[in-house]
Symmetry: C2
Subunit: 146 residues, 2 copies
Amino acid sequence: MDGQDLKRRMAEFAGMCRQKGVIATHQRTEIYRELAGSSKHPCAEAVFKGVKKRIPAISLDTVYRALRLFESKGVISRCCTIGDRARFDADMGSHVHFVCTRCGRVLDVAGSAPSFLKAPPEAAAMGAVESVRVEVRGRCGRCGKK
Amino acid sequence: MDGQDLKRRMAEFAGMCRQKGVIATHQRTEIYRELAGSSKHPCAEAVFKGVKKRIPAISLDTVYRALRLFESKGVISRCCTIGDRARFDADMGSHVHFVCTRCGRVLDVAGSAPSFLKAPPEAAAMGAVESVRVEVRGRCGRCGKK
DNA sequence: AGTATTATTACGATTTGTTAGTAATTATTT
DNA sequence: AAATAATTACTAACAAATCGTAATAATACT
């Protein structure tokens, strides 16, 4: 995620908020920026720490509220739970995650074939599919070297 | 899961415990049986309630400890988190889950094509893959009829 | 078999992630 | 600029999960 990408994401954020009736306050904008500017799929606490550098008076509670609001409006997604902390992702496009079972890092798998992101027909027969989540678990490169 | 299947699973459990140095105590055996005998992917509390019928004095803490131990030894897996409760699965084979976003049910998707359970090559390049988890989210048949 | 040793269980108390109530603050409307 | 509505920050609460520990059960040893 370079500066250009982030800029585009922030513009999209403003548009989504307008469209979905979410007031893009200063705090919420910075919370989103923290999430969109990171490739770490951070937990609420990590987002809080990051935003705090720019808005020292922000409260953890506001971060939780904003993340929950964003999620309910489809602006971000709760991508997985590592340990017992929920991790978030500003990228709403279909993609695969690599989750390291040792260090807990969540990495984006670039350019995954679309076949991995379609629901199998047997699942489609079970109900109305809304989304498909593919998570590859294993030991990441950094943890691999024992 | 019929009686025959459960019986086979319990035998496999004994073998896995022996192999992995886990003492198969009475409590642990019943905890595993509760999980393997259910197709509901229960949370810790639900396992506790089930086992309690057979071992009234069992404590919730013992259930948590056993589930954590089993997970760390690869005997069971924590399949997902619904609401804020972790759900568990005794089936360690690759399979797809259908998670109902309305009622929280977690259903097994039978007979999914193996292509859905293979890691994409891009992911395999990122580290040592241990498992692939596919979660289809949507409204289940029961919740579908409004 | 009986004793020593080690591991597990149950209990209670704690910790921790997350949510809720509310007064003060900020943004929006008139 | 005053009034109205929404959001924020604070504190407290809640619930899932964990930890310390004494009692208990299981294993190893002789």
